[in-house]
Symmetry: C2
Subunit: 147 residues, 2 copies
């Protein structure tokens, strides 16, 4: 099971807004062209990012802007914005372990803290990367293209 491409799409969107936002109006159609996905997918993600307070979208006239300094937007912010897993649980637990079996009725006690520990490690690493890192590398690779 993989983390939805909504996450990489969202980072792609941020890279586009930051790179082109000062020159062009960045619309969902433009972003859909760059990522090569349907514009409605983009609009849904934009809605989630807007709901998380990371971007602003201009109704009517169109166009998208980032509302916070890039070094204050972490991958974890983006992950939480676009991953709509209920209660944010990384692991899917089998639903109804038997209460008749000693192991079955204790498996949650046994496992839950370890699953949380693993999830925390993932989230810690997500929180360590910001859009400022993305900006730096985007500028690096784009300038290397124009040699």
């Amino acid at each position: 099971m993989q983390i939805s491409s909504r996450f990489t799409l969202a980072v792609h969107i941020f890279a586009c807004i930051d790179t082109f936002g000062s020159e062009y109006k960045v619309t969902s159609d433009f972003l859909a062209g760059s990522a090569n996905v349907n514009p409605v997918i983009i609009r849904k993600i934009l809605g989630q990012l807007k709901g998380a307070g990371l971007i602003a979208v201009a109704r009517g006239t169109g166009g998208t802007t980032i509302t916070k300094p890039l070094d204050e937007i972490t991958f974890l912010d983006i992950y939480n914005a676009v991953e709509c897993v209920e209660k944010g649980e990384l692991f899917h637990f089998h639903e109804n372990p038997s209460t008749d079996c000693p192991v079955g009725r204790n498996i949650h006690h046994i496992l839950d803290d370890k699953l949380i520990q693993i999830q925390n490690a993932l989230e810690r690493e997500l929180a360590a990367i910001t859009l400022a890192d993305i900006k730096r590398d985007t500028e690096k690779y784009l300038s290397e293209e124009n040699v």
Copy 2:
């Protein structure tokens, strides 16, 4: 997107084999009863764990045994055995970013190393937990029940 319940099921299976294996013959029907899932699901997971060299399953007569010391079987071993994500990639990337857009044709250069870094953190934490930890906590919770 969540990690398949095959993972928690597999840990549950190991806890059962270790707890009951010396007393009973641990069959797929027994395990299915404890976890409350279909026996065929159990057999598929047993097949994956066997393929990874973690357990042995007796054909014909039935029953399952663990083939390595518990402290040498990590959560990562189990995760790799039962998660059939292609190439083991945690993140799903949108398939065909546009090569016409400078960001689109560089997004993999920009993102890939960061995605690997995050995946490595997850796997490092998975590797830090072993079935010996599970055995310890299983015994603890089961003995607390019999006070």
